[in-house]
């Protein structure tokens, strides 16, 4: 069985990579040069203000987020990915003669995820300000 990469031609097959590498190195300086040449300059003081969706900025930009915010975010991402995992499962569920084992496996999977959910609740990870 031959491999996916054609070994005899290995150096040639990396030529596109080398081309992209050179382009990647050259592009940023060129773009910056073009911007410098064509863009108009303005010295108004508002230019240096913090951008806050067009309105006048309020307060300091360096505010602290509650660390629980990240916990929320991680939990959200986890459950989000679990749903993604269900998607390919639905596409192969029918027509491959595996409905019973596929159902059993998905139930085990969901059960384990549910476990995580109970864990989050009991550990008060979903409570904002304890």
């Amino acid at each position: 069985m031959s491999g996916i990469i054609d070994i005899s031609n290995i150096a040639n097959s990396y030529i596109p990579v080398a081309v992209i590498l050179i382009v990647a190195l050259v592009m940023p300086p060129i773009t910056m040069l073009i911007i410098k040449l064509v863009s108009p300059r303005s010295k108004a003081s508002a230019k240096y203000a913090t951008y806050e969706a067009g309105s006048v900025p309020v307060g300091n930009a360096r505010i602290q987020f509650n660390v629980e915010y990240y916990l929320y975010a991680i939990a959200f991402v986890l459950f989000d990915i679990e749903v993604l995992f269900l998607y390919p499962w639905t596409t192969i569920f029918k027509g491959h003669d595996i409905t019973s084992i596929a159902t059993a496996e998905m139930l085990v999977f969901i059960f384990v995820v549910l476990f995580g959910y109970v864990y989050l609740i009991k550990k008060e990870a979903l409570k904002w300000m304890k």
């Binding site: 069985m1 031959s2 491999g3 996916i4 990469i5 070994i7 290995i10 384990v112 476990f115 109970v118 864990y119 009991k122 550990k123």
Partner: protein
């Protein structure tokens, strides 16, 4: 497919989840029961593994194989897990996060067990990561202890890097051979051997596994992590996680990439020599017993790596047998340190370094059982006759000489002599230096775990023949190219 064949893994998984769920609903005072539950689960899994010895099967579309090699290493991991859970009963006393401690430990054990039976590089990698992720969290279990956090941080960053290197190596192997199945890679490895890709893959995989086995120069994290983590966790890392790296390297190098033998054999020879010498020499001047054990653990990994150089059935069997005895010796020694740490901390809560060798002064009078067990462990690590360490060194070194690597064996034997220097220092502190402090009561679970480990060390030394024979059987799986 017979689910009974993965019953040990399933038992550990169910126990892990049960411990987590039950722990959530228990008040902190009654969480002690979780440790007993976890130990019971490990014991059942151990019994199931022992009862299915001699079975050979391929499961899950040939990605998991049950054979003599996987069964042998599964028993190593389960024994270490048993020592970990028993010692953990005392360590987690009064801790509100007890359930996480045991669940993470059990999940790490499942990962190690699946690495041992992996027949496919993807299964191997996923199982490797399962074990690694669980142990990263365990290393930082003492959230308020800055040393524990440092240990976890270093272990995590370097571990992730090594995982990335390993995966890159696997991708090259896949690219050149078109498969991730270990026996099929072995069959197609002629393509790898005839191209520069093979060398790239070997280097990347060697670095990836080298980090986990803690071979010099990939060892930077190991002393800090073993010293900073709670001693019970260090036992799991040094005795379990390190063996996982060894079994993975055995599968990947000796089975899958045997065609590139000429390339990696010499690399392993150099790494073995540097690792054992560096580990032993640096261990000589350590004052923290945990750090000393960490460097000794490097040295031991260096000895085991000799099996990759010699590559005869006897040498591989010797290396595998060494892995088993090292599991008992090193886990036991770290648990003995845990017992001493516990004693020091219960006398003085703010003690800055409870694992300093001064705390072992007069331990023979203060904690006689701990001191006796520690003596057995360090003598076994040094390779004194009638212990497991002697037998494993004997098999490994004599097979090295037999196959003509006399220089390697001489270096290893000289190293063993050096190592006696620091091992004897611990014994000197325990028995020959006076102390004013009085006898203290020894924590029961630690004592049980140490006695199990000590009995194991002595049994493997006195009655080693069946175990050596069994290790040879496991090694023969490697040389016939898997299943």
């Amino acid at each position: 497919m017979n689910l009974m064949l993965v019953a040990p893994e399933l038992t550990i998984a169910v126990t892990g989840l049960a411990v987590l769920l039950i722990g959530l609903f228990l008040p902190t005072d009654s969480k002690k029961i979780l440790g007993y539950l976890a130990s019971l689960g490990v014991l059942i899994a151990l019994a199931l593994t022992v009862s299915s010895l001699g079975t050979e099967a391929l499961l899950f579309y040939n990605t998991v194989s049950i054979d003599a090699l996987s069964q042998f290493f599964k028993i190593v991991f389960l024994v270490v897990a048993l020592l970990f859970t028993i010692a953990g009963i005392k360590y987690t006393e009064g801790n509100s996060n007890t359930e996480e401690f045991f669940t993470l430990g059990l999940f790490a054990t499942i990962g190690m067990m699946f690495v041992a039976s992996a027949n496919d590089l993807m299964v191997l990698f996923v199982a490797f990561e399962l074990a690694s992720l669980a142990t990263y969290a365990l290393a930082g279990f003492e959230k308020k202890n800055i040393k524990s956090l440092e240990a976890a941080m270093k272990y995590f960053i370097i571990g992730s890097l090594s995982a990335a290197l390993m995966l890159l190596g696997i991708s090259y192997v896949y690219g050149a051979t078109g498969t991730t199945s270990i026996p099929e890679i072995a069959a197609n490895s002629a393509t790898l051997a005839s191209s520069p890709i093979g060398i790239v893959a070997v280097v990347l995989l060697l670095a990836g596994f080298g980090f986990k086995i803690a071979l010099v120069p990939f060892h930077m994290w190991a002393p800090d992590t073993y010293q900073g983590s709670p001693s019970v966790v260090s036992a799991l890392l040094a005795a379990g996680s390190k063996k996982m790296g060894i079994v993975a390297a055995l599968k990947v190098f000796v089975v899958a990439l045997i065609a590139l033998k000429a390339d990696w054999q010499i690399a392993f020879a150099i790494l073995a020599v540097i690792t054992m010498t560096y580990g032993n020499v640096v261990a000589l001047k350590q004052t923290s017993v945990k750090r000393m054990l960490a460097y000794s653990s490097l040295a031991q990994a260096g000895y085991i790596t000799m099996a990759f150089v010699v590559l005869t059935p006897i040498a591989l069997g010797g290396g595998i047998f060494y892995a088993l005895s090292h599991g008992f010796m090193k886990a036991g020694a770290f648990i003995a340190t845990a017992a001493v740490t516990y004693m020091v901390l219960s006398e003085n809560k703010d003690s800055a370094d409870p694992d300093h060798i001064e705390n072992f002064r007069g331990l023979g009078k203060r904690m006689p059982i701990t001191a006796l067990c520690m003596t057995i462990f360090v003598f076994a690590l040094a390779g004194i006759p009638l212990t497991a360490g002697y037998m494993s060194k004997f098999v490994l070194f004599s097979s090295t000489i037999q196959s003509g690597f006399v220089w390697l064996a001489v270096i290893a034997i000289l190293n063993s002599a050096i190592s006696l220097g620091y091992y004897a220092k611990i014994v000197k502190y325990m028995y020959f230096l006076p102390t004013d402090s009085e006898k203290v009561s020894e924590p029961f679970p630690y004592t049980i775990a140490m006695i199990i480990a000590a009995v194991g060390v002595l049994a493997l030394g006195f009655w080693s023949e069946p175990f050596v024979h069994w290790a040879m059987e496991a090694a023969s799986v490697l040389l016939t190219g898997g299943m």
